[in-house]
């Protein structure tokens, strides 16, 4: 008799894609609003984006129950920070906190693929990208989730600075304006929606800049 295998998993993947792009004085964080399980759609209207602090917004794809728990833990930790320091956490500080929180569960991880966007202490846009156990890096742009493999090469083409080894010498990429970045994000999602079954319905776009925070939605294909 072959050995019986465990057939219950504590995890599920609810799909979806998250993207963030950092600008000179703004940051765009976007995620689709589709929540699925297996080949079924659970809802077309679920937000994967969470405002952690005045200048930090996190988008997470993966197992949404773990994502929710992670968001709650970070919110509580932020409250404690505010009581102790009488101010909001900066985005780089929140980035480190998120990393530590994820690694804390190194041996039963949060099944969450996160992208943290915001403004750093100088007011410049910043994006931090994570794996499930807290390894993180500050980058200019990032994508996570089921559509990440479709979006990342496209963003590399549009945003990555050309190598200094290239001949003839090319200029560094011209800085993107806020509207251009939002447009780029919409393009990313429309393309990913075409080929990734787990991405679609709507994309929620959050923009953080010196004037504050605002949110917009864009319809996507629902198939």
């Amino acid at each position: 008799m072959p050995k019986e295998q465990a057939n219950w998993s504590p995890y599920d993947n609810n799909g979806g894609t998250c993207v963030a792009i950092a600008g000179a004085d703004y940051c765009v964080i976007a995620a689709d609003t589709r929540m699925s399980t297996g080949y079924s759609i659970l809802t077309r209207d679920y937000s994967k984006i969470c405002k952690l602090a005045d200048k930090s917004v996190m988008a997470s794809s993966g197992f949404q129950a773990d994502v929710k728990a992670l968001q709650k833990v970070l919110a509580s930790r932020h409250l404690i920070y505010q009581h102790q320091h009488n101010k909001q956490m900066s985005c780089p500080a929140m980035a480190q906190l998120l990393s530590n929180t994820l690694y804390y569960k190194r041996f039963f991880p949060y099944y969450a693929f996160n992208v943290l966007g915001g403004l750093d202490s100088e007011g410049k846009g910043c994006v931090f990208t994570y794996d499930a156990v807290g390894s993180y890096e500050r980058v200019g742009y990032s994508a996570q989730g089921s559509g990440a493999t479709l979006i990342t090469p496209f963003l590399d083409n549009q945003l990555k600075s050309p190598s200094p080894l290239l001949l003839p010498a090319k200029d560094a990429v011209t800085p993107l304006s806020e509207t251009e970045a939002i447009d780029l994000v919409k393009t990313c999602f429309s393309s990913a929606t075409e080929r990734d079954i787990y991405t679609g319905d709507k994309v929620e776009i959050v923009v953080l800049n010196a004037d504050g925070i605002r949110r917009e939605y864009e319809e996507l294909r629902r198939d």
């Binding site: 709650k72 833990v73 509580s76 409250l79 404690i80 009581h83």
Partner: protein, 277 residues
């Protein structure tokens, strides 16, 4: 109260059925600088006197935000107060995490009281030497509670604790019946008048007092100095008199430490020692 053979340990009863260590802890509250609280149907105001040790030092913080809907003012050993505020904050955060809703004030106050009681029944602990005026808003309305080192707590319409608080209490006793219907600004004004009473003739400026408000649609916040000074100027310039002067003179004896003055007080409050309730 005087030194006797039953007051060394908190776990020793006196033949008269008193725990002297607990009563001494309540004396510590009376020695602290004054803190007052008052509430209306929709708002609760906390105010305290902030005297610093010397001109060179800053004053101690006596009012703490516990959560958006709860704040606390302390009198007595401020270190103990700080530790208890941290506990209260932690309880609010944990409750919010579990239930995604604000911790009802009455619940928090009971938890605090139970925590204080533990220290009255362990030989290796001492009672907290701080009195807390807990101001908060929840579904059942605006609340003001007073937590004693003894582990007792009471709900009040208005109350004052700390040194020379009797003067403030007398003022509040005269005015409390109108508080329920008061507006936010009237409540703050009454709080400032009450604080002025405890200063016994010293000039009331925003450097010696702190005022905090919580109310419907207003998260707990401590008013900044400029706002408080503006409010003080408003009523000083208009020459408004809070209480009448005779009662001020009478209460000058008020809260001197040492003697266990059993001031019965008014309908809304009970004195601290002994703890029979």
């Amino acid at each position: 109260m005087f030194r006797n053979q039953y007051d060394t340990d908190v776990t020793t009863w006196s033949p008269a059925g008193r725990l002297f260590q607990v009563e001494y802890a309540m004396e510590a509250v009376k020695q602290g600088s004054a803190a007052i609280g008052l509430r209306s149907k929709t708002h609760v105001v906390l105010a305290c006197v902030n005297k610093s040790n010397s001109e060179l030092s800053s004053h101690q913080r006596k009012i703490f935000k516990v959560d958006d809907h709860i704040g606390v003012a302390i009198a007595g050993l401020t270190a103990d107060g700080r530790v208890l505020s941290r506990y209260m904050r932690s309880e609010c955060i944990n409750y919010g995490y579990t239930y995604e809703s604000p911790l009802p004030v009455g619940r928090l106050v009971v938890q605090l009281a139970d925590k204080a009681q533990v220290c009255t029944q362990r030989s290796w602990k001492r009672p907290y030497g701080v009195g807390l005026l807990v101001a908060g808003l929840d579904e059942s309305g605006a609340h003001l509670y007073y937590n004693c080192p003894s582990g007792n707590y009471f709900e009040y319409q208005a109350f004052a604790i700390g040194s020379r608080s009797q003067a403030a209490k007398t003022y509040l006793e005269r005015k409390f019946e109108n508080f329920t219907g008061s507006s936010r600004d009237e409540l703050i004004k009454d709080a400032l008048f009450a604080i002025r009473e405890t200063l016994q003739g010293e000039k009331l400026t925003s450097t010696v007092c702190t005022v905090a408000v919580v109310g419907v649609g207003e998260a707990f916040n401590i008013l900044d100095q400029a706002t408080v000074q503006a409010l003080i100027n408003e009523f000083e310039i208009s020459g408004e008199e809070g209480p009448t002067n005779e009662s001020v003179a009478e209460e000058a004896g008020g809260e001197s430490g040492g003697a266990a003055t059993e001031e019965g007080g008014a309908a809304t409050e009970q004195e601290t020692a002994p703890m029979d309730i």
